[in-house]
Amino acid sequence: MRRIHDFHGGIHPAENKLQSLATGIRPAGIPSQLILPLAQHIGAPSQPLVSPGDRVLKGQLIASAAGHVSVPLHAPSSGQILAIEDRPVPHPSGYSAPCVVIECDGRDEWVEEPSGIRNYRACEPSALLEKIRSAGIAGMGGAGFPTAVKLAGKPGAGITTLIINGTECEPYITADDILMQERAADILAGVDIMRHILKPQEILFGIEDNKPAAIAALKTAAAGSDVEIITFPTKYPSGGEKQLIEILTGKQVPSGGLPADIGVICQNVGTAVAVRNAVIYGRPLISRITTVTGDAVTAPGNFEVLLGTPMAHLLALAGFSAEKCERLIMGGPMMGFTVSGAEVPVVKTTNCVLAPTTREMPTPPPAQPCIRCGLCAQACPASLLPQQLFWFAQGKEFDKLEQHNLFDCIECGACSWVCPSHIPLVQYYRAAKADIVKQRRDHEKSEQARLRFEARQERIAREEAEREAKRAARKQAAEKRAELAAEGGDEDPVQAAIERARARKTAQQGTAPANTPDGGVKQLAALREKLAKTEQRLALSREAGEDNKIVTALEATVQRLRDRISAAEQSPAERETP
């Protein structure tokens, strides 16, 4: 007999499970409309493949997975696509989100007889994973993490223990319980497929001792196999992944770590059935078992319901009286949330629709100051200090929250449940967690903006430097030319100006060296030669598109030489005439 371990804390709320166990699983039938949110799982929303007006058949792919952590979506029944639009979805925000709406024709026609892999043991695990992925299975216990991604795991992380979670510790909910009672063989078939994929050393099936019928059914079904059915005392929240692992193996998942880090993987019983249907029968995930309970329904029970069925349809089957019910809850009383109305659909993670009367679940009294009684710390299954976390959450002291392992909080609500001051502690943690996640995301974004900004600054600086270098090179070239010109003649503008002044002076004095006709001719020839040279250089400079300053300087020189030539040409004549 395996030793059962205990985890820290935990509470014993009223179970309220019997109400919904009076009857077996009932079919919920086909509603007139199915509303299928594109985001029913953790990860990227799926991409719709159909458009309004299309006729779809049962099991047809209507939206594909967008990326690795995402799942596809299938039509739960045949009919026509009415719209792809925003509809209210079961989400604590009460927001609307994109949904595919199908107007059912009631004929429930299959797209084609789906083909399964009966002899899966002969199959590569990767092919089975592909089957599970394309069936659109996301964890049915409540979190909705894509099952194929979880089963594929990290390469190299050897899984030694597969844990099947049949705990269902939350009050009121009996969906897993009834599934284990009625379909134990199906569950074990799914487990066997997972065994083939994961090849664990042991398979532990955890179940609380408040479900004797389910335990009996499982023990019969598992007779002769190596799946260990382990029962343990009922305590909330023993169904938490980390808590269940501790109960069954005595090992603790390290803070901030995943079960896979210690070689464990947990799967819900509903997921096991979905895996069996996907692999053996090739059926996509289009329905699930959902508990409808609470004092506001007269015939509580479990229904096999098509995904996308409006909660109103289910509630009607269970004899719902709207006037008695103040709020509608998806999930249980501890971890569930209030939905915006009965028009929201059942999704892959809807394990329970709870319709309590006001007397049954009264609005909590106003919160009082914390009296530091420490009951919350005693109840916390994650061994946290809820009163401290509450303190820091109010002050938004995020680093202190992280130091106190806020992210190990499983949001089970045990602390709020025991708190004599009725402080809604979990809500503070949920808000603080979200704030921290947002802050991290913002920081990532600002980091990216900083990098882009710096890259741009760098680029601008580089371009400026390049321009500067070009300018400097051009200047140097010009200087060199000026030097050359100075050697060859009076190219330099300053030199030229001096020369011109001198020439004017000599002209005035009438003592020009061009006095002799010979000297005049020689000088003229020299001047002409110089002019030709300068003009050539000017043309070259213009062509090369060099700095304006150089071009103007050259132009001035050309002009000056022309003047001098014309002066020299005139002077002998002038001198001759008088």
Binding site: A39, P366, R372, Q394, A431, K438, D442, R450, F453
Partner: protein
């Protein structure tokens, strides 16, 4: 004369020699370490820059977050960044261990985050906005339609002014299902901020 006698004879001198003897190598070691392990740049300015929102809008009066970070490191007030708002001021105050002031109204007020959107059919392709964008979040070429890469836009507003045809709008970032998160409980009030023994007399009476 051997060593022991020497020390016994001049205890003061011996102590002095010993101390100097110890001090010299350690000093040399520290000096070497200071050179060898010198930190690049200005670490406090880097830490401040980490906290600033990197919107690069210049509302603080500096040409970008980095220059403002350096100014803060040199004693500038920490409440001049409107995009960062009170949260950033708080973080800066924590880092610098000072009291957190309120945001300086002169530099603007804390607004909801926005993202630029170019009305594409009105864009004349003048490239003016590209030149203004501090994070290269606008795509386009001369005489071609321009568009904003929304995921890279910091919402700094700088591209709005230069646009000659006013076709850039700043659109508030909408809260969708993916960005929604649980709010703090409504009941958060003064009476939750205290433990019972800390409550004011009125509260205790209540």
């Amino acid at each position: 004369m051997n060593m022991v006698e020497l020390i016994a004879q001049y205890p003061l001198l011996a102590a002095l020699v010993a101390l100097v003897g110890l001090g010299a190598p350690f000093g040399a070691l520290l000096g070497y370490a200071a050179v060898r392990f010198r930190t690049e740049g200005n670490p406090i300015a880097d830490q401040i820059n980490e906290i600033l929102p990197q919107t690069q809008c210049g509302q603080c009066g500096y040409p970008g977050c980095r220059p403002y970070a350096e100014a803060i490191a040199n004693g500038e007030a920490i409440n001049k960044c409107p995009p960062g708002g009170q949260a950033t001021i708080q973080a800066l105050a924590d880092l610098l261990d000072v009291e957190a002031p309120v945001l300086d109204e002169e530099h603007g007020e804390e607004k909801a985050k926005t993202v630029a959107y170019i009305r594409e059919d009105e864009c004349i392709g003048c490239t003016k906005c590209i030149q203004a964008c501090p994070v290269d979040a606008i795509l386009g070429a001369a005489k071609q339609m321009h568009t904003v890469i929304a995921s890279e836009c910091t919402g700094c507003d700088l591209c709005v002014e230069p646009c000659p045809v006013d076709c850039i709008d700043m659109i508030p970032v909408e809260e969708g299902l993916q960005s929604w998160h649980w709010p703090l409980p409504q009941t958060a009030s003064r009476n939750l901020d205290v433990i019972a023994s800390d409550a004011s007399p009125e509260e205790r009476a209540a």
